[in-house]
């Protein structure tokens, strides 16, 4: 929009010379064809089901990673939910470093925030309980709503393909 207006503004200038005005491209680069896609490599890169499917398969072969009612007609708060989700994913990646196997699924049910994580078995169960209790309490106090953490452990990352 701003670029179009600027371009129009420039065209409205008196004609100075042959092609003296050059329009500026001011939108940020939005590489839609490269988003959330794992590029094909040598064949040794382990790729999970979640990672292997590009975003146009959401709703067809993939589910959503974050479930809330903010995007329904007449509901508000979608932007706040998006910011909360971003913070939660970074927080969990930092609290369980190297142990998270797949992306975290966030579900909001009324006031409750249910965080479903898939963890590897690198840490002993006592430490996982410690981190779980810590994360639940801290997030509850931070967002002023009950937060329930559901941990599920796997022996290793489950490969879907090797790319």
């Amino acid at each position: 929009m701003a670029a179009a207006a600027a371009a129009r503004g420039l065209r409205a200038l008196p004609h100075i010379g042959p092609s003296a005005a050059r329009p500026l491209h001011t939108t940020p680069a939005c590489l839609k064809t490269r988003a959330a896609r794992v590029r094909v490599g040598k064949g040794d890169k382990l790729v999970t089901y979640e990672q292997a499917h590009p975003p146009h398969y959401i709703g067809h072969r993939k589910g959503w990673l974050s479930l809330h009612t903010g995007n329904l007609c007449g509901e508000g708060g979608a932007a706040e939910r998006a910011v909360e989700d971003a913070f939660l994913r970074r927080f969990l990646a930092g609290t369980f470093p190297g142990v998270l196997v797949d992306a975290v699924v966030l579900r909001r049910r009324a006031n409750l925030l249910v965080v479903s994580t898939l963890l590897g078995r690198a840490l002993p169960p006592t430490k996982l309980h410690f981190l779980g209790g810590y994360a639940e309490t801290l997030l509850s106090h931070f967002y002023k709503c009950p937060v329930r953490l559901e941990l599920q452990t796997l022996p290793a990352r489950v490969p879907y393909k090797y790319l």
């Binding site: 078995r121 309980h129 309490t137 106090h141 967002y143 599920q152």
Partner: protein, 685 residues
């Protein structure tokens, strides 16, 4: 039917009126149109206007949790799930009592870590995102707001429980000459007596941090540091009521004291283990002609066992206090009687005779006994030296199973454990069932926390194994473990004995699976018991195979694997494992076991040798038989000759094998014959 035809015209109106009656009540029963009921309103035929008022029932108000409670009542307990506080994942589920306690504590310490961060960085957590605001999720403000020397500042510090700061402020106020009111001084005394002149736990944490930061400092901090380290771990960390501590000092310099001051001091002294001083303070209170309140009397009655030694004197002193209560017109409450019974616990025979009178007094005063009362009663009657002939337990259980209790005394929590212990001592299973029913009634289950729950069910299971039929035992076992309680090793031993008594030894492999899951597969006593039961007699084929699999697991425990130190073989264990392998027809495995006897310097029993020989015969391995005879000869067993003759008779041996067999015997005799020949040679020479 006739009535309906009579009122044909008013049919519509009757239906409408009856519908109006039905809907507010919400009742779904069909409206009855009999002519006898006049509550349904007017009829056209009836000329008299009946002023019937339609009685709308009152609106029912439901509890906030009613829907959840109803939903919860439709779901039964899942016998395979662990406690709700653990995550539902096989890696994260606790396997036995020790790990369940460990995981619960680690989760709690994670919560404490989060609370620490919230306390120290409140600026990140004070945005009010929720509307209405959730107060319990906001950070607490624990720093005093009011500064300066004033009584308000002192009151605020007392409210925030800062012991040292409030004492300092009080001293500063006195030095400045400002009089502090009696109420504020009393509340300061309350604070000091409650904490016993130590800091509250929050203050202690902060002081410890400061101490750690200032480690390389003056000698004073060095002297304090070891004391702090000792205090950090233990909860009962207070060193008692020190002589002339802050509370006493402030008490002495108070210009005027009222009854409350004396009472607080008495209660503080009793709490922090200075009962003699408390008694002196009480005498002072009487001299000043003040009246003590009921809490003070409770504390004093509770301190009686520390004031007097002999049973009779204790009871007399308690009676003195009770008489004073009557004189000062102080109404006793439940805690008074509980304190009295607690004192009677330590009064031996006097206790037994007096406790029932105490309970009757309670009933006369219309005070409902709490679980602590019953706990003290059971202790008095059943835990003394002689198991009394009284029948009080059944009366107690009859009372307890009628009502749902709420916590009123800190000692309430011990009731169920004590009662179950009494049932076990009396070996009465019906009482135990009654106690179980009492526990499930209403809110009574809340008195058992995770530790006590485990102990309670563990004792109950032991009693079951002793007294009940095996199928009942197995039913309870499947239902209760591992969701309600984790069996202790003693429980497993009791279960094995019950199986043995009922001759149900084929269940042992599944019990062994549970033992492996519980992590008890390295305990010598359990292993010995399992092996002896399995190897005692011959069993049908498939059971024998299952036993052999268990034996293989037991063998794996003794092998070095990974980082764990392997268990040492004992002679009996090795022999039994070999026997089990041989009975299942696994000759090679059995021979591997036999070879180890020499390594551990033990001798196999005759039963083992015979069993191995039988196995070799069944699987037709004469080589193994010969190897066995060689081993017997090498270990110089008395049964070697017998084994050799058996081998010769029962096996079809080739020529080579017969020769080897002969040579073994001659090896055994050759030394004798050599010595004989050498003797005879020497004789000849």
């Amino acid at each position: 039917m006739a009535a309906w035809r009579v009122r044909g015209g008013s049919w519509q109106r009757v239906v409408w009126l009856s519908r109006r009656c039905c809907s507010p009540g919400g009742r779904r029963e069909g409206c009855r149109y009999s002519s006898s009921s006049t509550a349904l309103g007017k009829t056209v035929d009836n000329s008299e206007v009946t002023q019937e008022e339609i009685v709308l029932p009152r609106k029912k108000t439901w509890d906030k949790l009613a829907v959840l409670q109803t939903l919860a009542s439709t779901v039964k307990r899942d016998p395979t799930a662990a406690h709700y506080m653990f995550y539902d994942d096989p890696f994260l589920m606790p396997r036995n009592a020790a790990t369940s306690r460990l995981f619960a504590l680690s989760k709690e310490s994670g919560r404490n870590a989060a609370k620490y961060i919230i306390k120290h960085f409140p600026q990140y957590f004070d945005k009010t995102l929720a509307d209405p605001n959730v107060l319990c999720l906001m950070p607490e403000t624990l720093t005093p707001q009011i500064e300066g020397l004033s009584e308000e500042a002192l009151k605020e510090r007392i409210h925030l429980r800062k012991v040292k700061d409030s004492v300092n402020l009080f001293d500063q106020l006195l030095q400045a000459g400002t009089p502090v009111s009696l109420e504020t001084t009393n509340s300061l005394l309350d604070l000091l007596c409650f904490y016993g002149d130590q800091e509250s736990t929050l203050e202690k944490e902060e002081e410890e941090e400061k101490e750690d930061l200032e480690e390389p400092e003056v000698n004073a901090s060095e002297q304090k540091a070891p004391r702090r380290r000792f205090q950090r771990g233990s909860q009962l960390s207070d060193s008692g009521w020190r002589e002339n501590n802050n509370a006493e000092r402030i008490f002495k310099i108070m210009p005027e004291r009222n009854a409350h001051s004396y009472c607080t001091m008495i209660r503080g002294m009793v709490k922090h283990r200075a009962p003699a001083k408390a008694y002196d303070m009480y005498i002072d209170l009487l001299n000043e002609r003040h009246k003590a309140d009921v809490h003070t009397f409770n504390a004093l009655i509770g301190a009686v066992p520390y004031l007097k030694e002999r049973f009779f004197e204790r009871w007399e002193l308690a009676k003195v206090f009770l008489n004073h209560m009557v004189q000062q017109e102080v109404q006793p409450n439940l805690l008074t009687f509980n304190a009295l019974l607690k004192t009677l616990r330590r009064c031996g025979g006097v206790g037994r005779s007096m406790s029932l009178l105490v309970v009757k007094e309670m009933e006369a005063l219309d005070i409902e006994p709490s679980l602590a009362t019953y706990d003290h009663l059971l202790y008095i009657f059943y835990r003394g030296a002689d198991l009394g002939q009284s029948n009080i337990i059944s009366e107690v259980l009859d009372d307890v199973e009628k009502r749902s209790f709420s916590p009123q005394d800190p000692d309430d929590a011990n009731f169920f454990a004590t009662a179950m212990q009494v049932c076990c001592d009396l070996k009465d299973i019906k009482l135990a069932y009654q106690l179980n029913k009492a526990m499930e009634k209403g809110d009574n289950w809340k008195f058992l926390d995770v530790d006590r729950l485990n102990a309670y069910w563990s004792k109950f299971f032991s009693l079951l194994c002793m007294m009940e039929q095996i199928d009942v035992v197995l039913k309870w076992y499947k239902e209760m473990s591992p969701s309600l309680f984790y069996p202790t090793p003693k429980n497993i031993l009791d279960l094995l004995q019950a199986l043995d008594a009922a001759n149900h030894l084929e269940v042992i492999p599944s019990v062994w699976e549970d033992v492996k899951q519980l992590g008890f597969n390295k305990r010598q006593d359990l292993l010995e018991e399992v092996l002896s039961l399995m190897s005692r007699e011959q069993h049908p084929e498939e059971i024998q195979l299952a036993f052999a699999k268990c034996a293989e697991d037991i063998k794996a425990v003794h092998e070095p694997s990974g980082r764990e130190v392997p268990l040492q073989w004992t002679g009996s264990a090795l022999g039994r494992v070999a026997l089990l392998f041989s009975r299942a027809g696994r000759t090679q495995d059995a021979w591997n076991m036999m070879e180890r006897f020499q390594q551990i310097n033990r001798i196999p029993t005759d039963q083992v040798m015979d069993g191995f020989l039988n196995c070799a015969k069944q699987t037709n391995c004469p080589d193994e038989a010969i190897k066995l005879v060689k081993l017997a000869a090498a270990l110089s067993l008395p049964s070697a000759a017998r084994l050799k003759s058996r081998t010769e008779k029962e096996f079809e041996l080739s020529e080579k094998q017969k020769k080897t067999l002969e040579s073994i015997k001659s090896d055994g005799d050759s030394s004798d014959s050599d010595s004989e020949s050498s003797d005879s040679d020497s004789d000849r020479d």
